[in-house]
């Protein structure tokens, strides 16, 4: 009974976020346009022919995650900042339990990241001539990356919404937390691009899942402290 009400509260928070986003489309526009603009600049200046063959696996996987991460940074912080700006945070505190708020906001960020990856990754492959041999491996790395990045972004967004100078603080607090994750995501993407075997991405995937899982569990425990402060 309690679990089902928690689930319904979480889904209600997610529904509120989606409705609000459909009306305003601020986060979607921010991450989508940031991603496309960066991709166009990179493709125009570097493109598929400027990188030497031996450097391609390293540079292309790194550039892809630089575009994805910074595009995500431009929109994911909004989930909590907008509640503080619109003075709706107090109402949300009364309306739903902290865990439900975290779950709803986390799922919303996950959906935003999935939309960003779906938009940018195929475009990047086409514009940069990035041939990925292990599509299943890449899909797994992207999925694990979205789960982990969404966890760190949601809790950091909650922290910075309670501080002044929020938007600049998001990047300052997020980057050191996700750097080890980005290193493993780049390595996993490189492995997926070079081999059709799923085993090639496993070492990186283990690291991504471990770090992402640890961040998610700790975030769930810390969120009530941040939210009720």
């Amino acid at each position: 009974m309690r679990a089902s009400s928690l689930l319904s509260e979480s889904l209600a928070v997610l529904g509120k976020e989606l409705t609000s986003e459909v009306r305003s489309r601020v986060a979607l526009n921010a991450i989508g346009l940031f991603g496309i603009t960066t991709l166009v600049v990179v493709a125009y200046q570097i493109g598929p022919y400027q990188i030497q063959e031996k450097d391609r696996p390293y540079l292309l996987s790194a550039l892809l995650w630089v575009i994805l991460f910074f595009a995500a940074t431009s929109g994911l912080a909004r989930v909590f900042v907008k509640e503080e700006d619109a003075h709706t945070a107090k109402t949300l505190r009364l309306a739903a339990r902290p865990l439900a708020v975290f779950a709803g906001k986390y799922l919303f960020n996950l959906i935003l990241l999935a939309a960003l990856f779906t938009l940018i990754v195929p475009l990047y492959c086409a514009l940069m001539g990035y041939e990925v041999r292990g599509l299943a491996g890449l899909a797994l790395v992207l999925a694990a990356g979205a789960v982990a990045l969404s966890a760190s972004s949601t809790i950091v967004a909650a922290i910075i919404s309670r501080a002044s100078g929020s938007t600049t603080l998001f990047a300052i607090l997020s980057v050191p937390l996700v750097l080890p994750l980005l290193v493993m995501l780049i390595q996993g993407t490189r492995a997926a691009a070079g081999s059709v075997e799923l085993a090639a991405v496993l070492p990186a995937l283990q690291g991504i899942v471990s770090l992402g899982g640890a961040l998610l569990i700790v975030s769930v425990f810390l969120f009530p402290v941040v939210w009720h402060e």
Binding site: I160, V175, V218
Partner: protein, 228 residues
């Protein structure tokens, strides 16, 4: 013997111990084979600095967890003091590591996994203080920075133990090897000097940490008197 006398005696002991460590590092321990000139002697200062940077991170975590349980402002001051010292010692470890890298490989920075690890540790400490500066309310500042410190600690095992062992590294092998077993292949005099230095630097950290916490205690007491 009064507390003050014990404290003074311990300070003198720490000072004498560190002087002996410095003397042993330069005049008693031999230079390691396979390294350029006398460059290996930096290990007696670089390793303890890196150790203290990680120790400070652990103390910061414990104080942050305590703060969230007790809501005692002194625990927040303990967490901030540990982070301040962690920032200084990780900066020192980065500088001494860079000097060693320049002597050995003619380059101050090689994007080695261990260099990246310590640089990220530095960034985490800097972000921790950026967050503290951005929150004017003391209670909220303490809670949010405690939450961030705990969150940042989650990444530490990946930075210190996982990433440097996944990627190829120029860095000389560590005392705790990739298999997790202790490696004791150093000359006994080098090993004794290194362990003495680790003890000395740990003592130095706790001395500075205690000073900072005592100052915070005085500041909090004065604040309480003014509010009363």
């Amino acid at each position: 013997m009064s507390d003050n006398r014990v404290r003074t005696a311990l300070h003198w002991l720490l000072g004498a111990w560190l002087v002996l460590v410095i003397a042993a590092a330069f005049f008693w321990a031999p230079a390691a084979a396979g390294f350029k000139g006398e460059s290996s002697r930096i290990v007696f200062f670089h390793v303890p600095q890196a150790w203290v940077a990680v120790l400070a991170f652990c103390v910061n975590l414990i104080a942050s967890l305590r703060y969230l349980r007790t809501r005692d402002p002194l625990d927040d001051a303990r967490a901030a003091a540990a982070a301040r010292l962690g920032l200084v010692f990780s900066l020192l470890a980065t500088v001494t590591g860079s000097i060693f890298a320049h002597v050995m490989w003619n380059s101050f920075w090689n994007w080695d996994p261990r260099e990246i690890s310590i640089a990220i540790l530095l960034l985490i400490y800097a972000a921790y203080f950026a967050l503290r500066e951005a929150v004017p309310d003391e209670e909220r500042r303490a809670s949010l920075s405690a939450a961030y410190a705990i969150l940042a600690f989650v990444t530490m095992p990946f930075l210190v133990f996982v990433v440097p062992r996944i990627y190829w590294s120029l860095h000389p092998d560590t005392i705790i090897g990739a298999t997790g077993k202790l490696k004791m292949q150093m000359d006994p005099r080098m090993l004794q000097t290194l362990f003495a230095s680790l003890v000395g630097f740990t003592g130095l950290f706790f001395w500075l940490y205690t000073l900072d916490v005592r100052l915070a205690r005085v500041r909090l007491a004065r604040q309480a008197r003014e509010e009363a």
